[in-house]
C-alpha cells in the first residue's frame, strides 16, 4: 500500500525532495527495514540514510523508535533529532 514519506532538514537536502509517495515491499515492516529499503532507491537516499544513529522518525505524526512497525501507516517522516525552542 502506498505511503507518504516526508523528509526534513538535512535528510530532505540529501534525498533531494521533501516528500514522495512510495509502495514499500512487504519485508519493509519496521522503520529500520523500511530505511534499509529506502537507502537503495538513489544515491541521495543512500547518503541520507547512511548513519542510522543520526535519524529520528514519526509514524502518522507521532515520534516512534526505529524498531516501530510501519504496517498500515499513511505518513512516515524521517528527520534529524529536533532542535526547537
Amino acid at each position: 500500500m502506498a505511503v507518504r514519506l516526508l523528509y526534513f532538514a538535512w535528510v530532505r537536502e540529501a534525498v533531494g525532495i521533501g516528500e514522495e509517495m512510495l509502495d514499500p515491499p512487504p519485508e519493509a515492516a519496521t522503520l529500520d527495514a523500511l530505511i534499509d529499503w529506502l537507502a537503495t532507491l538513489s544515491a541521495g537516499h543512500a547518503t541520507a540514510f547512511a548513519d542510522r544513529t543520526r535519524l529520528r522518525a514519526a509514524v502518522d505524526q507521532h515520534f516512534v523508535a526505529m524498531d516501530a512497525p510501519v504496517a498500515g501507516a499513511r505518513e512516515i517522516a524521517i528527520f534529524p533529532p529536533v532542535t526547537g525552542g
Binding site: F8, A9, F79, G84
Partner: protein, 145 residues
Amino acid sequence: MIRVGVQTAPIDLADALAGIEAAGMGGIASFTGLVRADDGVATLTLEHYPGMTEAALQAVAEAAAARWSLGAVTILHRVGTMHPGERIVFVGTAAAHRAEALAACSYCIDRLKTDAPFWKREATEAGERWVEPRAADDSAARGWE
C-alpha cells in the same frame, strides 16, 4: 485557555501577554527566547513539520495544564528566517500563585526542545549549518518525567 501557534510573523509580546492576563489569575510567568548572535550567526532559519508541530505544541500545553492548576497557557513559536535579537519562542502561563506559573512555564520550554519537530539552520559568513541537538536539552526534558 490553551493557545498555541506556529507563525512566520513576529511574536507580539503585548498581545501574547494580554491573552495570558485575561485569565484573571494572580500569577503570570512568561519566557521569551531570542535568536542569539553566537559565533557570528547572521540568520537562523527554522524548519518544521506542518500539522505535527501544532499538535506537539498543543500536547505540551495540555500536559502542563494537567500537571498544574493553570488559568492559561500560551505557546507561540516562529518558523522561517530570523535575525539575531528577534523573538523565536514565547511561553506564557497563568496560575493563582507564582510557583505554579513559573514551574509550568519552565516545563513547557524544556519539553518544547525535545517534543516539537523543529530544526534550526544557522547562516554565518563561513557558510550554513544545521544545529545539532544539545545533550543538556534532553536531560532537562527528562528531569520532568
